[in-house]
Amino acid sequence: MSMINYASREINCKVVYYGSGLGGKTTNLEHVFTKVAPDQRGKMVSLATETERTLFFDFLPVDLGTVRGFKTRFHLYTVPG
């Protein structure tokens, strides 16, 4: 899904990772986090249990730059599992 804000000239797209438990959803997000330049990503938020299993969700905003004058950002989420 996406949301376009004409006033602030922003496009925000939400991408959700879905898959079996212990399948690597959080690991995938962590890999993206390490590969994207710090100035193009926000802070990775991980709401996990003490055993590192995702309790709520993981979240990582990634900045893609400007598309036709609109600042474009991907919001990457994982689901619990």
Binding site: M1, S2, M3, I4, N5, Y6, A7, S8, I11, N12, K14, G42, K43, V45, L47, F56, F57, F59, P61, L64, G65, V67, R68, F70, T72, R73, H75, Y77
Partner: protein, 163 residues
């Protein structure tokens, strides 16, 4: 704005929203107000410069509200229309708007939760009208502009990931 989870906010609507938020800050003496959609996207922000990442804040706000909605159902309430988080210096008051977006008010000791709650009620009514109008226009001819932009954006994103 259109269905299937994709929607847009026009400049005129954004202007109306920020005007209502500005009036709220003036009357309540709070220092910040944000509007976040239920999917965790920041729609508008008025007040002092934020000292945190607004994108992450919006995402956690939506999660907070969703979790509390489920808590409400567990105790037999259809929903919690508002939430209050009290800190030592900074506090926040969250209110549902039209079951579509969340109004977040950030305030400190310069005001009281009572005043903020009182003023938020009027702002929620004002914002409900704005969002009802916005969603009422969904699917009308003006949305063709958005479809064209999305088409162009898809091409650009394809190019970005092309190599």
């Amino acid at each position: 704005m259109s269905g299937a989870g994709t929607w847009s906010i026009a400049e005129e609507d954004h202007r109306k929203i920020t005007e209502h938020l500005g009036a709220l800050l003036k009357e309540s003496q709070a220092h910040g107000a944000l509007v976040v959609d239920r999917a965790g996207q920041l729609l508008a922000n008025v007040g002092d410069e934020l000292k945190f990442d607004p994108t992450t804040f919006a995402s956690l706000t939506a999660a907070d509200f969703s979790a509390n909605d489920q808590l409400a159902k567990m105790i037999g309430e259809p929903e919690f229309g508002s939430l209050f988080h009290q800190g030592e210096k900074e506090s926040m008051y969250l209110a549902d708007v039209a079951r579509r977006v969340i109004l977040v008010v950030l305030f400190d000791q310069r005001t009281t939760v009572g005043l903020v709650r009182l003023k938020v009620k009027q702002t929620v009514n004002d914002l409900t009208k704005v969002f009802d109008d916005m969603f009422g226009r969904a699917g009308q001819p003006g949305q063709q502009k958005q479809a064209k932009l999305l088409e162009g954006a898809e091409d650009e994103i394809d190019k970005l990931f092309g190599d």
